[in-house]
């Protein structure tokens, strides 16, 4: 099990950030997520696996400046 923005979400072997966002409704526009304390950006979504028991946060569009 992982938690996405605090809500439980089933974990499965090999799940990547890209796969997770496909699972979630309306999450296609996220460009950055945080897995525990590590920021992952869109260019790395497909190759970044999510470990079991992780806290995943979908970061809103980056505000900058």
């Amino acid at each position: 099990m992982i938690r996405v923005n605090g809500k439980p979400h089933p974990w499965r072997e090999g799940i990547t950030v890209a796969v997770l966002l496909e699972d979630l409704e309306g999450a296609h526009h996220y460009a950055v997520v945080r897995i525990n304390d590590k920021h992952i950006s869109k260019p790395h979504f497909e190759k970044t696996p999510i470990p079991d028991d992780s806290d995943v946060f979908l970061l809103p569009m980056i505000a900058g400046g």
Partner: protein, 713 residues
């Protein structure tokens, strides 16, 4: 303890006005040339048209200077204001001051938005703004004592040069056992030996028992303060509650303030974690999207970027509350405790460093090819204590380094220093030279525009290449984002009133990553709405971070998520609750439009403010050198073929660079046309008579100025 003396030159006692719905209703003017202190009323019309903050500053500055005033003329004024909501303890980000003056870098109006307690203390002492002009014949300190309703101009002897020491001494001296009652505005020795001096504003950190810093960094305002021989401006005030600002509707204010504050406390840990890592989270994200400036904005990515990212600084920062305003739940002003510099006058001593934030990390780190977090902290510390703007230091030094690597300058010019990218000791040495005004550091401290002139005229460097790689516009150094792949952000920088600073419009992600604005009209709309709304924070004494750095969880489902309209609505409620003026989100934009257009016309008064002044260097638009093109060849080749229908077969890199440049520069000019039209300006970038009339800024002087530039009804 440093021995120093202060002696009153002039003292006035005044009747402290009751703060009414966020306004004191008067401003303070001090002429240090003649030791004059006087008070001016704020009329209802000025409140209605200019709102407060930067609006009041600009109005005061407009009347202080003429179109021929130079930055170091006595009549140039430094104006500092809070705003009607400034000093509200319950609402996050409500302690900002905004500073304006005629800039030594641009020759026109500069504005800089800064945290710390000064603005609210000034207002509660009885003044919506302070205007300081003249030039003192000795070092002076200005003391605004709101507790005893007294303003003093003091001669100062023996005060230290370095800003941290100066602030600590003045906080203790004027605080009389209550240091939290004091906020100090000062600069350091670098300010008088360069054109890129900053102002340090203090807030007292009760837990760490020390005066902490925020900076009004941009445009050399510290240099103007030093030129006036003003060592510091000190404000003193007592306890602040929600009632101190005498808001029109306390219950409504409490409700909206608690709502916003609670949301930040709940969501910040899930989102950007501003309260623990501040803006450092941007470093690796910018790097991932090819937006982190590396080696003078040549590249947007570097394999060592993680060394200077949030995971590293998160471990280095001293844990604890870091709000630069009382009770602010964003609390992003982090610092480093017991840092030991390896160079300079503080070598081997333990010091506290306020920062670094993203801009400093990118400017004094990646853009110099430096990926050592401790060097960046040391650069941060010395910039602050010398009174230097970390952004202009970084961008200026990056330019000098690239010129050195391109052999446009050499060791005979740099005093034997190897200014190669990544040479951290050379970067620190340059910084120390800026502070003392010695060696090549003195040249670098003049900023990019002056360096371009010196390198071409005195050292024989090619002016065209200097123009292409010198990252300044309007005379101000670029802040630290890559814009090559975002036309909207090229406009965000190039069309910004004061020069290329990101506080007007930060559209890179919306444009490049999310593709929210594919057409020129959409880009123009964004380059209208975002600068206007961001301007509004500076009118009111507010920080923009609570608006869009932490957003509601349902924001993504709203029609315009980039605008975070739920928060815009809260800000309208906040303004209504404080001032009693019932306000909608559209009203906020209109308030800003008046001030924004007035500032554009102020640029015109100073000899700028036309289309030609919105030019940006080609490095901001596309690849200048073959090595830049080749590093992203696939991207550029694809654009030439798919977007511009060019047959690139057999074309050399130089030919492709020239073609891409032609297309991209054309797009930027087209963007200017669309934005000017949306803003109600002429094709030459001047507000029309209809625009100034609509906004109520059709003052006689304004209309005459427009007429002199061929703009009539």
């Amino acid at each position: 303890m440093t021995k120093f003396k202060v002696k009153p030159i002039k003292t006035i006692d005044y009747d402290k006005p009751a703060i009414e719905k966020g306004y004191a209703g008067q401003t303070l003017c001090i002429d240090v040339s003649i030791a004059a202190i006087f008070i001016k009323p704020v009329t209802d019309k000025i409140k209605t048209v200019f709102t407060g903050g930067k609006g009041f500053d600009l109005w005061l500055l407009w009347h202080a200077v003429s179109g021929t005033t130079k930055w170091n003329d006595p009549e140039n004024a430094i104006c500092i204001a809070s705003g009607p909501m400034g000093g509200t303890p319950i609402y996050p980000g409500s302690g900002k001051s905004i500073v304006t003056t005629i800039s030594p870098l641009t020759g026109s109006v500069i504005d800089s938005n800064v945290g710390g307690y000064f603005g609210p203390y000034l207002k509660f002492s009885g003044f919506d703004a302070i205007e300081v002009k003249g030039k003192a014949s000795t070092d002076v300190v200005i003391f605004i004592d709101g507790i005893n309703a007294k303003v003093q101009l003091l001669e100062a002897v023996g005060l230290p040069e370095e800003s941290y020491d100066l602030s600590a001494i003045l906080t203790e001296y004027f605080g009389q056992g209550k240091p939290r009652n004091i906020s100090v505005v000062s600069t350091g020795p670098g300010a008088k030996n360069t054109l890129i001096g900053c102002l340090n504003f203090t807030w007292y950190d009760l837990k760490r028992k020390r005066a902490r810093y925020k900076q009004a960094g941009r445009g050399g305002i510290g240099t103007v303060l030093a030129d006036k021989r003003i060592k510091a401006i000190v404000a003193r005030w007592d306890t602040i509650t929600i009632d101190t600002n005498h808001p029109a509707d306390v219950a409504a204010l409490k409700e909206v303030g608690r709502r916003h504050s609670r949301e930040i406390v709940e969501l910040d840990p899930k989102q950007n974690q501003m309260a623990t890592i501040g803006t450092t989270h941007l470093v690796t994200i910018m790097n991932d999207f090819d937006l982190l400036p590396v080696n003078n904005f040549q590249y947007g990515r570097h394999p060592e970027a993680a060394n200077i990212g949030q995971e590293v600084y998160g471990r280095i920062f001293d844990a604890g509350f870091d709000g630069c305003w009382m009770g602010c739940s964003v609390a992003c002003s982090h610092g480093v405790k017991d840092f030991v510099p390896i160079t300079g006058p503080y070598k081997g001593s333990k010091v506290f460093v306020d920062g670094p934030e993203y801009e400093t990390i990118a400017g004094c780190g990646s853009n110099l090819g430096i990926f050592d977090p401790h060097t960046i902290i040391e650069m941060n510390f010395y910039c602050d204590t010398y009174g230097l703007d970390t952004i202009s230091v970084g961008t200026s030094m990056a330019f000098a380094m690239e010129c050195f690597e391109m052999s446009l300058i050499n060791k005979t010019h740099t005093g034997g220093i190897d200014l190669s990218f990544g040479n951290r000791l050379a970067a620190l040495e340059m910084l120390h030279q800026m502070a003392t005004g010695e060696g090549f550091g003195r040249t670098v401290g003049q900023g990019v525009r002056k360096m371009k002139s010196i390198f071409s005229k005195d050292y024989g460097a090619d002016p065209d290449i200097l123009h292409d790689i010198g990252m300044e516009a309007k005379g101000l150094e670029f802040s630290e984002y890559m814009t090559k792949e975002s036309l909207a952000q090229q406009g965000g920088y190039g069309l910004a009133l004061k020069g290329p600073q990101h506080d007007e419009a930060w559209l890179i992600f919306l444009d490049m990553v999310h593709n929210f604005m594919p057409t020129f009209e959409q880009k123009a709309e964004a380059l209208h709405w975002f600068p206007m709304f961001r301007t509004w924070f500076g009118l009111c004494g507010l920080c923009k971070l609570p608006w869009n750095d932490i957003v509601p969880e349902d924001n993504k489902n709203t029609p315009e998520p980039a605008k975070v309209m739920k928060h815009v609505q809260w800000y309208a409620e906040y303004f209504s609750a404080v001032t009693g003026r019932q306000t909608t989100p559209d009203d906020l934009i209109r308030m800003s439009e008046a001030v924004y257009n007035f500032q554009r016309i102020f640029n015109l008064k100073m000899g700028f403010g036309r289309r030609e002044h919105d030019t940006i260097p080609y490095r901001a638009v596309g690849p200048v050198k073959a090595v830049e093109y080749e590093s992203r060849r696939e991207r550029y080749d694809k654009q030439l073929v798919e977007q511009h229908k060019v047959d690139i077969e057999g074309k050399s890199t130089a030919e492709k660079i020239a073609l891409l440049r032609q297309f991209r520069e054309g797009l930027y000019e087209k963007l200017k046309d669309a934005v000017y039209k949306r803003r109600g300006w002429t094709p030459n970038g001047i507000p029309t008579v209809a625009t100034v009339k609509r906004l109520g800024i059709d003052f006689q002087e304004v209309l005459e100025l427009l007429k002199a530039h061929g703009v009539e009804e």
